[in-house]
Amino acid sequence: MKKTYNINEKGYYGEFGGAYIPEMLYPNVEELRQNYLKIMAEPSFQEEFNALLKDYVGRPSPLYFAKRLSEKYNTKIYLKREDLNHTGAHKINNTIGQILMAKRLGKNRIIAETGAGQHGVATATVCALMGIECIVYMGEIDIARQAPNVARMKMLGATVVPALSGSRTLKDATNEAIRDWINNPVDTHYIIGSVVGPHPYPDMVAKFQAVVSEEIKRQLLEKEGTEDPTYLVACVGGGSNAAGTYYHYLDNEAVNIIAVEAAGLGVDSGESAATSVLGKEGIIHGSKTLLMQTHDGQITEPYSISAGLDYPGVGPMHANLYKTGRAEFIAITDDDAMKAGLDLCKLEGIIPAIESSHALAVFEHKIFKPDDIVVLNLSGRGDKDLQNYIDYFKL
Protein backbone atom coordinates (compact mmCIF):
# COMPACT_ATOMS: atom_id res chain seq x y z
CA MET A 1 0.00 0.00 0.00
CA LYS A 2 1.19 3.48 -0.82
CA LYS A 3 2.50 5.43 2.15
CA THR A 4 0.10 8.14 3.21
CA TYR A 5 0.10 10.90 5.77
CA ASN A 6 -3.67 11.01 5.64
CA ILE A 7 -6.01 9.10 7.91
CA ASN A 8 -6.37 5.30 7.69
CA GLU A 9 -9.62 3.35 7.76
CA LYS A 10 -9.36 2.88 11.54
CA GLY A 11 -9.20 6.60 12.22
CA TYR A 12 -5.46 6.88 12.86
CA TYR A 13 -2.69 8.99 11.38
CA GLY A 14 0.21 6.61 11.92
CA GLU A 15 -0.09 5.83 15.62
CA PHE A 16 -2.10 8.96 16.46
CA GLY A 17 -5.84 9.54 16.54
CA GLY A 18 -8.55 7.01 17.36
CA ALA A 19 -11.56 7.57 19.60
CA TYR A 20 -10.73 7.29 23.32
CA ILE A 21 -14.16 8.18 24.59
CA PRO A 22 -16.39 7.10 27.44
CA GLU A 23 -19.15 4.69 26.48
CA MET A 24 -21.67 7.49 27.11
CA LEU A 25 -20.34 9.25 24.00
CA TYR A 26 -20.07 6.17 21.83
CA PRO A 27 -23.51 6.37 20.14
CA ASN A 28 -23.04 10.06 19.24
CA VAL A 29 -19.57 9.61 17.80
CA GLU A 30 -20.48 6.34 16.10
CA GLU A 31 -23.50 7.93 14.40
CA LEU A 32 -21.24 10.63 13.02
CA ARG A 33 -18.52 8.17 12.01
CA GLN A 34 -20.93 6.01 10.07
CA ASN A 35 -22.48 8.92 8.24
CA TYR A 36 -20.01 11.73 7.67
CA LEU A 37 -18.34 10.48 4.50
CA LYS A 38 -21.63 9.41 2.98
CA ILE A 39 -23.24 12.78 3.71
CA MET A 40 -20.25 14.75 2.47
CA ALA A 41 -20.34 12.82 -0.80
CA GLU A 42 -24.00 13.63 -1.49
CA PRO A 43 -24.30 15.97 -4.49
CA SER A 44 -26.88 18.10 -2.66
CA PHE A 45 -24.48 18.52 0.26
CA GLN A 46 -21.61 19.49 -2.02
CA GLU A 47 -23.83 21.95 -3.86
CA GLU A 48 -25.07 23.64 -0.70
CA PHE A 49 -21.60 23.69 0.90
CA ASN A 50 -19.95 25.20 -2.16
CA ALA A 51 -22.70 27.78 -2.69
CA LEU A 52 -22.41 29.00 0.91
CA LEU A 53 -18.62 29.12 0.74
CA LYS A 54 -18.89 31.23 -2.40
CA ASP A 55 -21.74 33.59 -1.63
CA TYR A 56 -21.74 33.74 2.17
CA VAL A 57 -18.10 33.24 3.15
CA GLY A 58 -16.71 34.97 0.06
CA ARG A 59 -14.56 32.18 -1.36
CA PRO A 60 -12.28 31.63 -3.09
CA SER A 61 -10.05 33.68 -0.84
CA PRO A 62 -7.29 35.43 -2.80
CA LEU A 63 -3.79 34.02 -3.09
CA TYR A 64 -1.91 37.30 -2.85
CA PHE A 65 1.70 37.79 -3.94
CA ALA A 66 3.21 39.86 -1.11
CA LYS A 67 5.68 41.90 -3.14
CA ARG A 68 7.30 44.05 -0.47
CA LEU A 69 7.50 41.20 2.05
CA SER A 70 9.08 39.05 -0.69
CA GLU A 71 11.63 41.78 -1.42
CA LYS A 72 12.55 42.04 2.24
CA TYR A 73 13.27 38.33 2.55
CA ASN A 74 14.49 37.81 -1.00
CA THR A 75 12.07 34.99 -1.80
CA LYS A 76 8.60 34.61 -3.32
CA ILE A 77 5.89 34.85 -0.67
CA TYR A 78 2.22 34.24 -1.32
CA LEU A 79 -0.39 34.86 1.36
CA LYS A 80 -3.54 32.75 1.34
CA ARG A 81 -6.01 35.37 2.51
CA GLU A 82 -8.28 33.45 4.90
CA ASP A 83 -8.45 36.71 6.86
CA LEU A 84 -10.82 38.02 4.21
CA ASN A 85 -13.47 35.37 4.92
CA HIS A 86 -16.74 36.33 6.56
CA THR A 87 -16.12 36.44 10.35
CA GLY A 88 -12.44 37.08 9.69
CA ALA A 89 -10.74 33.70 9.73
CA HIS A 90 -10.64 30.18 8.31
CA LYS A 91 -12.88 28.89 11.12
CA ILE A 92 -16.07 29.47 9.13
CA ASN A 93 -15.14 26.86 6.48
CA ASN A 94 -15.55 24.18 9.12
CA THR A 95 -18.66 25.54 10.81
CA ILE A 96 -20.49 25.84 7.47
CA GLY A 97 -19.66 22.22 6.74
CA GLN A 98 -20.67 21.01 10.19
CA ILE A 99 -23.95 22.89 10.37
CA LEU A 100 -24.98 21.26 7.08
CA MET A 101 -23.85 17.92 8.52
CA ALA A 102 -25.92 18.54 11.68
CA LYS A 103 -29.02 19.36 9.63
CA ARG A 104 -28.70 16.16 7.63
CA LEU A 105 -28.27 14.16 10.84
CA GLY A 106 -31.55 15.68 12.05
CA LYS A 107 -30.02 17.61 14.96
CA ASN A 108 -31.72 20.73 16.24
CA ARG A 109 -29.32 21.91 18.90
CA ILE A 110 -25.68 22.90 18.45
CA ILE A 111 -22.94 23.06 21.06
CA ALA A 112 -19.39 24.32 20.64
CA GLU A 113 -16.31 25.18 22.67
CA THR A 114 -14.30 28.30 22.19
CA GLY A 115 -11.07 29.76 23.53
CA ALA A 116 -10.65 33.29 22.24
CA GLY A 117 -14.14 33.25 20.81
CA GLN A 118 -13.32 32.94 17.10
CA HIS A 119 -14.77 29.46 16.69
CA GLY A 120 -17.65 30.47 18.96
CA VAL A 121 -18.46 33.39 16.68
CA ALA A 122 -18.14 31.23 13.56
CA THR A 123 -20.50 28.68 15.11
CA ALA A 124 -23.00 31.29 16.33
CA THR A 125 -22.93 32.75 12.80
CA VAL A 126 -23.91 29.54 11.01
CA CYS A 127 -26.53 28.75 13.67
CA ALA A 128 -28.11 32.16 13.06
CA LEU A 129 -27.94 31.47 9.33
CA MET A 130 -29.82 28.19 9.77
CA GLY A 131 -32.07 29.21 12.65
CA ILE A 132 -30.71 26.54 15.01
CA GLU A 133 -30.22 26.88 18.78
CA CYS A 134 -26.58 27.48 19.72
CA ILE A 135 -24.80 27.01 23.04
CA VAL A 136 -21.14 27.98 23.30
CA TYR A 137 -18.95 26.89 26.21
CA MET A 138 -16.17 29.30 27.06
CA GLY A 139 -13.78 29.36 30.00
CA GLU A 140 -14.70 31.88 32.65
CA ILE A 141 -11.26 33.46 32.34
CA ASP A 142 -11.56 33.72 28.56
CA ILE A 143 -14.99 35.33 28.86
CA ALA A 144 -13.43 38.07 30.93
CA ARG A 145 -10.57 38.72 28.52
CA GLN A 146 -12.49 38.38 25.22
CA ALA A 147 -15.48 40.63 25.83
CA PRO A 148 -16.01 41.75 22.18
CA ASN A 149 -16.36 38.17 20.94
CA VAL A 150 -18.72 37.33 23.79
CA ALA A 151 -20.86 40.28 22.68
CA ARG A 152 -20.72 39.11 19.04
CA MET A 153 -21.94 35.64 19.97
CA LYS A 154 -24.79 37.11 22.00
CA MET A 155 -25.80 39.42 19.14
CA LEU A 156 -25.86 36.37 16.87
CA GLY A 157 -28.33 34.72 19.25
CA ALA A 158 -26.05 32.23 20.96
CA THR A 159 -26.05 31.38 24.66
CA VAL A 160 -22.56 31.66 26.13
CA VAL A 161 -22.06 29.33 29.09
CA PRO A 162 -19.03 29.90 31.32
CA ALA A 163 -16.84 26.85 31.99
CA LEU A 164 -16.13 27.04 35.72
CA SER A 165 -14.14 23.84 36.12
CA GLY A 166 -10.40 23.21 36.11
CA SER A 167 -8.32 26.05 34.72
CA ARG A 168 -11.41 27.76 33.24
CA THR A 169 -9.92 28.11 29.74
CA LEU A 170 -10.19 26.35 26.37
CA LYS A 171 -9.51 22.79 27.51
CA ASP A 172 -12.15 23.12 30.21
CA ALA A 173 -14.63 24.64 27.77
CA THR A 174 -14.02 21.57 25.62
CA ASN A 175 -14.63 19.28 28.62
CA GLU A 176 -17.90 21.08 29.36
CA ALA A 177 -19.05 20.81 25.74
CA ILE A 178 -18.29 17.08 25.79
CA ARG A 179 -20.27 16.72 29.05
CA ASP A 180 -23.19 18.57 27.49
CA TRP A 181 -23.06 16.09 24.61
CA ILE A 182 -23.08 13.18 27.08
CA ASN A 183 -26.16 14.69 28.71
CA ASN A 184 -27.90 15.35 25.36
CA PRO A 185 -27.08 12.40 23.15
CA VAL A 186 -30.00 12.49 20.75
CA ASP A 187 -30.84 15.99 19.50
CA THR A 188 -27.44 17.70 19.75
CA HIS A 189 -24.48 18.03 17.40
CA TYR A 190 -21.13 19.13 18.76
CA ILE A 191 -19.24 21.41 16.36
CA ILE A 192 -15.59 20.99 17.32
CA GLY A 193 -13.48 23.93 16.14
CA SER A 194 -10.26 22.22 15.19
CA VAL A 195 -8.74 18.98 13.89
CA VAL A 196 -8.84 17.52 17.40
CA GLY A 197 -11.16 15.25 19.37
CA PRO A 198 -12.19 11.65 18.71
CA HIS A 199 -12.27 10.19 15.20
CA PRO A 200 -13.99 11.19 12.89
CA TYR A 201 -13.62 14.83 13.98
CA PRO A 202 -9.99 15.40 12.96
CA ASP A 203 -10.70 13.97 9.51
CA MET A 204 -14.05 15.70 9.04
CA VAL A 205 -12.71 19.11 10.04
CA ALA A 206 -9.62 18.62 7.84
CA LYS A 207 -11.86 17.77 4.90
CA PHE A 208 -13.95 20.91 5.40
CA GLN A 209 -10.79 23.01 5.63
CA ALA A 210 -9.25 21.24 2.62
CA VAL A 211 -10.88 23.84 0.38
CA VAL A 212 -7.88 26.03 1.30
CA SER A 213 -5.28 23.79 -0.40
CA GLU A 214 -7.66 22.96 -3.22
CA GLU A 215 -7.76 26.67 -4.05
CA ILE A 216 -4.01 27.12 -3.55
CA LYS A 217 -3.32 24.49 -6.22
CA ARG A 218 -5.54 26.20 -8.75
CA GLN A 219 -4.42 29.72 -7.91
CA LEU A 220 -0.72 28.92 -7.88
CA LEU A 221 -0.98 27.17 -11.24
CA GLU A 222 -2.45 30.36 -12.65
CA LYS A 223 0.23 32.60 -11.13
CA GLU A 224 3.38 30.46 -11.26
CA GLY A 225 2.56 27.74 -13.76
CA THR A 226 2.81 25.06 -11.09
CA GLU A 227 0.45 23.68 -8.47
CA ASP A 228 3.32 22.98 -6.12
CA PRO A 229 4.93 25.59 -3.89
CA THR A 230 8.37 24.89 -2.44
CA TYR A 231 7.05 25.46 1.08
CA LEU A 232 3.70 25.62 2.83
CA VAL A 233 3.65 27.53 6.11
CA ALA A 234 0.86 27.62 8.70
CA CYS A 235 0.52 28.18 12.43
CA VAL A 236 -0.64 25.26 14.56
CA GLY A 237 -2.66 25.36 17.77
CA GLY A 238 -5.09 22.48 17.35
CA GLY A 239 -4.13 22.80 13.70
CA SER A 240 -7.21 23.31 11.52
CA ASN A 241 -5.88 26.07 9.26
CA ALA A 242 -2.68 24.07 8.87
CA ALA A 243 -4.60 20.90 8.05
CA GLY A 244 -6.51 22.78 5.35
CA THR A 245 -3.30 24.25 3.93
CA TYR A 246 -1.48 20.92 3.80
CA TYR A 247 -4.38 18.63 2.94
CA HIS A 248 -3.95 18.16 -0.83
CA TYR A 249 -0.15 18.19 -0.51
CA LEU A 250 0.23 15.72 2.35
CA ASP A 251 1.53 12.90 0.16
CA ASN A 252 3.34 15.14 -2.34
CA GLU A 253 6.76 15.19 -0.72
CA ALA A 254 8.12 17.62 -3.31
CA VAL A 255 6.26 20.24 -1.27
CA ASN A 256 7.91 21.04 2.07
CA ILE A 257 5.66 21.57 5.06
CA ILE A 258 6.40 23.98 7.90
CA ALA A 259 4.27 24.05 11.05
CA VAL A 260 4.68 27.01 13.38
CA GLU A 261 3.87 26.59 17.06
CA ALA A 262 3.67 29.20 19.79
CA ALA A 263 6.75 29.25 22.02
CA GLY A 264 5.11 31.79 24.34
CA LEU A 265 7.81 33.35 26.51
CA GLY A 266 10.27 30.72 25.21
CA VAL A 267 10.17 26.95 24.85
CA ASP A 268 12.02 26.38 28.13
CA SER A 269 10.37 29.20 30.06
CA GLY A 270 7.52 27.16 31.53
CA GLU A 271 5.15 29.56 29.72
CA SER A 272 4.81 27.99 26.29
CA ALA A 273 2.45 26.16 23.94
CA ALA A 274 5.05 24.40 21.77
CA THR A 275 3.40 20.98 21.96
CA SER A 276 5.75 19.17 19.58
CA VAL A 277 8.76 20.06 21.73
CA LEU A 278 7.16 19.89 25.17
CA GLY A 279 4.48 17.28 24.60
CA LYS A 280 4.49 13.55 25.04
CA GLU A 281 2.18 10.95 23.59
CA GLY A 282 -1.08 10.69 25.48
CA ILE A 283 -4.84 11.08 25.34
CA ILE A 284 -6.63 14.42 25.27
CA HIS A 285 -10.27 15.02 24.37
CA GLY A 286 -10.64 11.52 22.98
CA SER A 287 -7.60 11.51 20.73
CA LYS A 288 -4.19 9.88 21.04
CA THR A 289 -1.73 12.60 20.17
CA LEU A 290 1.09 14.71 21.55
CA LEU A 291 0.10 16.76 24.55
CA MET A 292 1.62 18.81 27.31
CA GLN A 293 1.32 16.98 30.58
CA THR A 294 2.99 16.30 33.87
CA HIS A 295 5.13 13.24 34.51
CA ASP A 296 2.03 11.72 36.11
CA GLY A 297 -0.16 12.26 33.04
CA GLN A 298 -2.13 15.31 34.19
CA ILE A 299 -2.81 17.76 31.37
CA THR A 300 -1.07 21.10 31.88
CA GLU A 301 -2.08 24.62 30.94
CA PRO A 302 -0.19 26.08 28.00
CA TYR A 303 0.62 29.73 27.46
CA SER A 304 0.80 31.93 24.38
CA ILE A 305 -0.03 35.58 23.75
CA SER A 306 -2.26 34.17 21.03
CA ALA A 307 -5.45 32.72 22.44
CA GLY A 308 -5.88 30.55 19.33
CA LEU A 309 -2.60 28.71 19.82
CA ASP A 310 -2.66 27.91 23.53
CA TYR A 311 -4.08 24.40 23.34
CA PRO A 312 -2.16 21.74 25.32
CA GLY A 313 -2.50 19.18 22.52
CA VAL A 314 -2.25 19.18 18.75
CA GLY A 315 -4.36 17.43 16.12
CA PRO A 316 -3.31 13.81 15.48
CA MET A 317 -2.51 14.59 11.83
CA HIS A 318 0.13 17.04 12.99
CA ALA A 319 1.49 14.73 15.68
CA ASN A 320 2.12 12.25 12.89
CA LEU A 321 3.67 14.87 10.59
CA TYR A 322 6.03 15.71 13.45
CA LYS A 323 6.86 12.15 14.39
CA THR A 324 7.53 11.07 10.79
CA GLY A 325 9.53 14.19 10.01
CA ARG A 326 7.19 15.04 7.11
CA ALA A 327 6.78 18.55 8.51
CA GLU A 328 9.37 20.85 10.01
CA PHE A 329 8.14 22.31 13.32
CA ILE A 330 9.33 25.77 14.37
CA ALA A 331 8.45 27.47 17.66
CA ILE A 332 8.01 31.26 17.65
CA THR A 333 7.95 33.43 20.78
CA ASP A 334 5.38 36.10 21.62
CA ASP A 335 7.92 38.82 20.91
CA ASP A 336 8.93 37.52 17.49
CA ALA A 337 5.30 37.00 16.50
CA MET A 338 4.25 40.50 17.53
CA LYS A 339 7.13 42.02 15.61
CA ALA A 340 6.31 39.98 12.48
CA GLY A 341 2.68 41.06 12.76
CA LEU A 342 3.58 44.73 12.89
CA ASP A 343 5.97 44.22 9.97
CA LEU A 344 3.16 42.89 7.79
CA CYS A 345 1.05 45.95 8.63
CA LYS A 346 3.83 48.30 7.54
CA LEU A 347 4.92 46.36 4.43
CA GLU A 348 1.65 45.13 3.03
CA GLY A 349 -1.13 47.09 4.70
CA ILE A 350 -2.58 43.96 6.30
CA ILE A 351 -3.20 43.63 10.05
CA PRO A 352 -2.91 39.92 10.81
CA ALA A 353 -4.33 37.88 13.68
CA ILE A 354 -1.62 37.12 16.25
CA GLU A 355 -1.95 33.41 15.39
CA SER A 356 -1.01 34.18 11.78
CA SER A 357 1.76 36.50 12.97
CA HIS A 358 3.48 33.42 14.41
CA ALA A 359 3.56 31.91 10.92
CA LEU A 360 4.87 35.18 9.48
CA ALA A 361 7.79 35.18 11.92
CA VAL A 362 9.19 32.14 10.11
CA PHE A 363 11.02 34.45 7.69
CA GLU A 364 13.24 35.74 10.50
CA HIS A 365 14.08 32.17 11.50
CA LYS A 366 14.68 30.37 8.25
CA ILE A 367 16.41 31.52 5.05
CA PHE A 368 14.56 30.78 1.85
CA LYS A 369 16.08 30.82 -1.62
CA PRO A 370 15.20 33.58 -4.10
CA ASP A 371 13.30 31.21 -6.37
CA ASP A 372 11.50 29.35 -3.56
CA ILE A 373 7.75 29.74 -3.63
CA VAL A 374 6.44 30.03 -0.08
CA VAL A 375 2.68 29.89 0.47
CA LEU A 376 1.67 31.03 3.95
CA ASN A 377 -1.82 30.76 5.36
CA LEU A 378 -2.83 34.15 6.69
CA SER A 379 -5.48 32.43 8.75
CA GLY A 380 -7.16 35.42 10.37
CA ARG A 381 -7.34 39.18 10.60
CA GLY A 382 -6.12 41.20 13.54
CA ASP A 383 -9.22 43.18 14.51
CA LYS A 384 -9.91 40.82 17.40
CA ASP A 385 -6.34 41.32 18.65
CA LEU A 386 -6.32 45.09 18.60
CA GLN A 387 -6.24 45.39 22.39
CA ASN A 388 -3.29 42.98 22.53
CA TYR A 389 -1.42 44.97 19.89
CA ILE A 390 -2.25 48.23 21.74
CA ASP A 391 -1.00 46.87 25.05
CA TYR A 392 2.11 45.29 23.56
CA PHE A 393 3.28 48.22 21.40
CA LYS A 394 1.85 50.93 23.70
CA LEU A 395 -0.03 52.30 20.70
Binding site: E23, M24, L164, R179, I182, N183, G282, D296, G297, I299
Partner: protein
Protein backbone atom coordinates in the same frame (compact mmCIF):
# COMPACT_ATOMS: atom_id res chain seq x y z
CA UNK B 1 -10.77 -16.55 42.55
CA UNK B 2 -10.85 -12.79 42.18
CA UNK B 3 -12.48 -11.04 45.15
CA UNK B 4 -14.95 -9.35 42.78
CA UNK B 5 -16.27 -12.68 41.51
CA UNK B 6 -16.51 -14.03 45.07
CA UNK B 7 -18.46 -10.99 46.17
CA UNK B 8 -20.82 -11.26 43.21
CA UNK B 9 -21.73 -14.79 44.31
CA UNK B 10 -23.05 -13.57 47.66
CA UNK B 11 -26.82 -13.69 47.92
CA UNK B 12 -27.44 -9.99 48.52
CA UNK B 13 -27.68 -6.64 46.77
CA UNK B 14 -24.25 -5.04 46.72
CA UNK B 15 -23.39 -1.51 47.68
CA UNK B 16 -20.29 -0.12 46.03
CA UNK B 17 -18.90 3.28 46.95
CA UNK B 18 -16.69 5.57 44.90
CA UNK B 19 -14.41 8.13 46.42
CA UNK B 20 -11.49 10.18 45.15
CA UNK B 21 -8.08 9.11 46.44
CA UNK B 22 -6.25 11.81 48.39
CA UNK B 23 -9.47 13.65 49.24
CA UNK B 24 -10.30 15.62 51.31
CA UNK B 25 -6.72 15.26 52.61
CA UNK B 26 -3.85 13.50 50.94
CA UNK B 27 -3.52 10.82 53.62
CA UNK B 28 -7.25 10.09 53.98
CA UNK B 29 -7.26 7.39 51.30
CA UNK B 30 -6.75 4.34 53.52
CA UNK B 31 -8.93 5.64 56.39
CA UNK B 32 -11.80 6.12 53.96
CA UNK B 33 -11.39 2.58 52.66
CA UNK B 34 -11.23 1.06 56.16
CA UNK B 35 -14.21 3.04 57.39
CA UNK B 36 -16.26 2.06 54.36
CA UNK B 37 -15.58 -1.62 54.94
CA UNK B 38 -16.43 -1.29 58.65
CA UNK B 39 -19.69 0.39 57.71
CA UNK B 40 -20.80 -2.61 55.66
CA UNK B 41 -19.97 -1.52 52.14
CA UNK B 42 -19.41 -4.43 49.74
CA UNK B 43 -16.96 -2.98 47.24
CA UNK B 44 -14.95 0.21 46.79
CA UNK B 45 -13.97 2.21 43.74
CA UNK B 46 -10.86 4.20 44.42
CA UNK B 47 -10.85 7.23 42.12
CA UNK B 48 -7.43 8.06 40.69
CA UNK B 49 -7.77 11.80 40.12
CA UNK B 50 -7.34 13.28 36.62
CA UNK B 51 -7.12 16.89 35.50
CA UNK B 52 -9.76 16.49 32.79
CA UNK B 53 -12.37 13.92 33.86
CA UNK B 54 -14.77 14.00 30.88
CA UNK B 55 -17.39 11.64 32.25
CA UNK B 56 -17.68 13.31 35.64
CA UNK B 57 -19.77 16.17 36.89
CA UNK B 58 -18.65 19.10 39.04
CA UNK B 59 -18.63 17.25 42.41
CA UNK B 60 -16.14 14.59 41.37
CA UNK B 61 -14.12 16.97 39.21
CA UNK B 62 -13.62 19.41 42.07
CA UNK B 63 -12.64 16.59 44.43
CA UNK B 64 -10.13 15.47 41.78
CA UNK B 65 -8.73 18.97 41.41
CA UNK B 66 -8.35 19.18 45.19
CA UNK B 67 -6.71 15.75 45.38
CA UNK B 68 -4.22 16.68 42.65
CA UNK B 69 -3.54 19.91 44.48
CA UNK B 70 -2.94 17.82 47.62
CA UNK B 71 -0.22 16.03 45.66
CA UNK B 72 -1.95 12.82 44.64
CA UNK B 73 -0.26 10.82 41.85
CA UNK B 74 -0.39 7.22 40.66
CA UNK B 75 2.88 6.50 42.46
CA UNK B 76 1.62 8.02 45.68
CA UNK B 77 -1.62 6.04 45.53
CA UNK B 78 0.26 2.75 45.21
CA UNK B 79 2.46 3.82 48.09
CA UNK B 80 -0.60 4.54 50.26
CA UNK B 81 -2.21 1.22 49.33
CA UNK B 82 0.84 -0.96 49.94
CA UNK B 83 -0.45 -2.39 53.24
CA UNK B 84 -4.17 -2.02 52.62
CA UNK B 85 -4.69 -5.78 52.33
CA UNK B 86 -3.55 -6.22 55.93
CA UNK B 87 -6.75 -4.57 57.09
CA UNK B 88 -9.23 -4.66 54.21
CA UNK B 89 -10.75 -7.73 52.56
CA UNK B 90 -13.56 -6.44 50.30
CA UNK B 91 -12.94 -5.97 46.55
CA UNK B 92 -11.06 -2.81 45.59
CA UNK B 93 -11.29 -1.32 42.13
CA UNK B 94 -9.33 1.63 40.76
CA UNK B 95 -11.42 3.98 38.63
CA UNK B 96 -9.45 6.44 36.58
CA UNK B 97 -8.87 7.90 33.16
CA UNK B 98 -6.50 6.31 30.70
CA UNK B 99 -3.84 8.98 30.28
CA UNK B 100 -2.26 8.72 33.76
CA UNK B 101 -2.11 4.93 33.32
CA UNK B 102 -0.56 5.32 29.88
CA UNK B 103 2.13 7.60 31.30
CA UNK B 104 2.80 5.22 34.18
CA UNK B 105 3.08 2.40 31.67
CA UNK B 106 0.03 0.17 31.35
CA UNK B 107 1.89 -3.03 32.25
CA UNK B 108 3.71 -1.40 35.17
CA UNK B 109 0.39 0.04 36.39
CA UNK B 110 -1.30 -3.36 36.25
CA UNK B 111 1.64 -4.98 38.00
CA UNK B 112 1.46 -2.45 40.84
CA UNK B 113 -2.29 -3.03 41.11
CA UNK B 114 -1.70 -6.72 41.61
CA UNK B 115 1.06 -6.09 44.17
CA UNK B 116 -1.13 -3.93 46.41
CA UNK B 117 -4.20 -6.13 46.01
CA UNK B 118 -6.40 -4.27 43.53
CA UNK B 119 -9.01 -6.55 41.95
CA UNK B 120 -10.20 -4.58 38.96
CA UNK B 121 -10.14 -1.38 36.95
CA UNK B 122 -12.76 0.93 35.51
CA UNK B 123 -11.35 3.20 32.79
CA UNK B 124 -14.17 5.16 31.16
CA UNK B 125 -12.11 6.46 28.23
CA UNK B 126 -10.42 3.21 27.29
CA UNK B 127 -12.68 1.93 24.50
CA UNK B 128 -13.75 -1.68 24.49
CA UNK B 129 -12.11 -2.50 21.14
CA UNK B 130 -8.78 -0.85 22.04
CA UNK B 131 -8.76 -2.82 25.30
CA UNK B 132 -9.58 -6.03 23.50
CA UNK B 133 -6.90 -5.57 20.83
CA UNK B 134 -4.05 -4.17 22.94
CA UNK B 135 -4.40 -4.53 26.69
CA UNK B 136 -6.55 -7.56 27.52
CA UNK B 137 -3.63 -9.96 27.90
CA UNK B 138 -1.78 -7.56 30.24
CA UNK B 139 -4.82 -7.11 32.50
CA UNK B 140 -5.36 -10.84 32.64
CA UNK B 141 -1.71 -11.54 33.35
CA UNK B 142 -2.03 -9.53 36.56
CA UNK B 143 -5.42 -10.95 37.51
CA UNK B 144 -7.33 -7.71 36.98
CA UNK B 145 -10.96 -7.54 35.94
CA UNK B 146 -11.68 -4.68 33.55
CA UNK B 147 -15.19 -3.35 34.02
CA UNK B 148 -17.06 -1.93 31.01
CA UNK B 149 -19.90 0.57 30.95
CA UNK B 150 -23.23 0.43 29.15
CA UNK B 151 -25.76 3.25 28.90
CA UNK B 152 -29.44 3.54 27.88
CA UNK B 153 -28.17 4.40 24.38
CA UNK B 154 -25.96 1.32 24.01
CA UNK B 155 -27.32 -0.95 21.29
CA UNK B 156 -28.37 -4.51 22.10
CA UNK B 157 -25.66 -5.88 19.83
CA UNK B 158 -22.98 -3.87 21.61
CA UNK B 159 -24.31 -4.89 25.05
CA UNK B 160 -24.04 -8.54 23.96
CA UNK B 161 -20.46 -7.94 22.82
CA UNK B 162 -19.54 -6.18 26.08
CA UNK B 163 -21.15 -9.03 28.02
CA UNK B 164 -19.09 -11.53 26.04
CA UNK B 165 -15.77 -9.95 26.99
CA UNK B 166 -16.64 -8.99 30.58
CA UNK B 167 -15.39 -11.18 33.39
CA UNK B 168 -16.93 -9.64 36.50
CA UNK B 169 -19.86 -7.28 36.29
CA UNK B 170 -21.19 -4.71 33.86
CA UNK B 171 -21.31 -1.11 35.03
CA UNK B 172 -24.74 0.06 34.02
CA UNK B 173 -24.87 3.83 33.68
CA UNK B 174 -28.43 4.75 34.68
CA UNK B 175 -29.02 7.59 32.25
CA UNK B 176 -27.42 9.71 29.58
CA UNK B 177 -25.48 11.93 31.91
CA UNK B 178 -22.24 12.71 33.65
CA UNK B 179 -21.87 11.76 37.30
CA UNK B 180 -23.82 13.57 39.98
CA UNK B 181 -26.27 15.27 37.66
CA UNK B 182 -29.63 13.77 38.47
CA UNK B 183 -31.89 12.93 41.38
CA UNK B 184 -34.33 10.08 41.32
CA UNK B 185 -35.32 7.67 38.57
CA UNK B 186 -38.29 8.01 36.24
CA UNK B 187 -40.09 5.76 33.81
CA UNK B 188 -37.24 5.91 31.30
CA UNK B 189 -34.80 4.40 33.78
CA UNK B 190 -37.28 1.81 35.03
CA UNK B 191 -37.89 0.65 31.47
CA UNK B 192 -34.16 0.54 30.81
CA UNK B 193 -33.52 -1.48 33.99
CA UNK B 194 -36.22 -3.95 32.95
CA UNK B 195 -34.98 -4.17 29.38
CA UNK B 196 -31.48 -5.07 30.54
CA UNK B 197 -32.80 -7.57 33.10
CA UNK B 198 -34.75 -9.32 30.32
CA UNK B 199 -31.57 -9.71 28.28
CA UNK B 200 -30.37 -12.32 30.80
CA UNK B 201 -26.72 -11.33 30.46
CA UNK B 202 -24.06 -13.69 31.74
CA UNK B 203 -22.46 -10.93 33.85
CA UNK B 204 -24.39 -9.35 36.71
CA UNK B 205 -25.00 -5.61 36.45
CA UNK B 206 -24.25 -2.91 38.94
CA UNK B 207 -25.99 0.41 38.42
CA UNK B 208 -24.17 3.70 38.75
CA UNK B 209 -24.97 7.41 38.31
CA UNK B 210 -27.97 8.95 40.04
CA UNK B 211 -27.96 6.87 43.24
CA UNK B 212 -27.81 8.95 46.39
CA UNK B 213 -30.16 7.49 49.01
CA UNK B 214 -32.11 4.42 50.11
CA UNK B 215 -34.93 5.06 47.63
CA UNK B 216 -32.71 5.24 44.55
CA UNK B 217 -30.58 2.35 45.81
CA UNK B 218 -33.70 0.18 46.16
CA UNK B 219 -34.99 1.19 42.73
CA UNK B 220 -31.64 0.53 41.06
CA UNK B 221 -31.18 -2.88 42.66
CA UNK B 222 -34.67 -4.15 41.98
CA UNK B 223 -33.30 -6.00 38.94
CA UNK B 224 -29.57 -5.34 39.18
CA UNK B 225 -27.08 -7.02 41.48
CA UNK B 226 -25.95 -3.82 43.09
CA UNK B 227 -25.49 -0.09 42.87
CA UNK B 228 -22.64 2.38 43.02
CA UNK B 229 -22.69 5.70 44.83
CA UNK B 230 -20.14 8.35 43.91
CA UNK B 231 -21.00 12.04 43.98
CA UNK B 232 -23.31 11.79 47.00
CA UNK B 233 -20.53 10.18 49.03
CA UNK B 234 -17.90 12.67 47.83
CA UNK B 235 -20.25 15.43 48.99
CA UNK B 236 -20.49 13.73 52.36
CA UNK B 237 -16.68 13.66 52.57
CA UNK B 238 -16.53 17.34 51.65
CA UNK B 239 -18.79 18.23 54.56
CA UNK B 240 -17.81 15.64 57.17
CA UNK B 241 -14.33 14.44 56.28
CA UNK B 242 -13.52 10.81 57.13
CA UNK B 243 -15.62 10.82 60.30
CA UNK B 244 -19.19 9.59 60.35
CA UNK B 245 -18.84 7.51 57.17
CA UNK B 246 -21.05 4.93 58.88
CA UNK B 247 -23.85 7.50 59.19
CA UNK B 248 -23.78 8.00 55.45
CA UNK B 249 -23.82 4.29 54.68
CA UNK B 250 -26.69 3.78 57.14
CA UNK B 251 -28.85 6.21 55.17
CA UNK B 252 -28.45 3.97 52.09
CA UNK B 253 -28.83 0.44 53.46
Amino acid sequence: MNRINQKLEEDKKLLSIYFTAGYPNINDTVSVIENLEKSGVDMIEIGLPFSDPLADGPTIQSSSTKALHNGMTSERLFEQLKDVRKTVSIPLIIMGYFNPMLQYGVEEFCKKCQEVGIDGLIIPDLPVDVYNDNYKSIFEKYGLINVFLITPQTSEERIRFIDSISKGFIYMVSSASVTGSQSGFGAIQTNYFERIAEMKLKNPQIVGFGISNNETFTQATKHAKGAIIGSAFVKHLTTNGVDNIEDFVNTIL
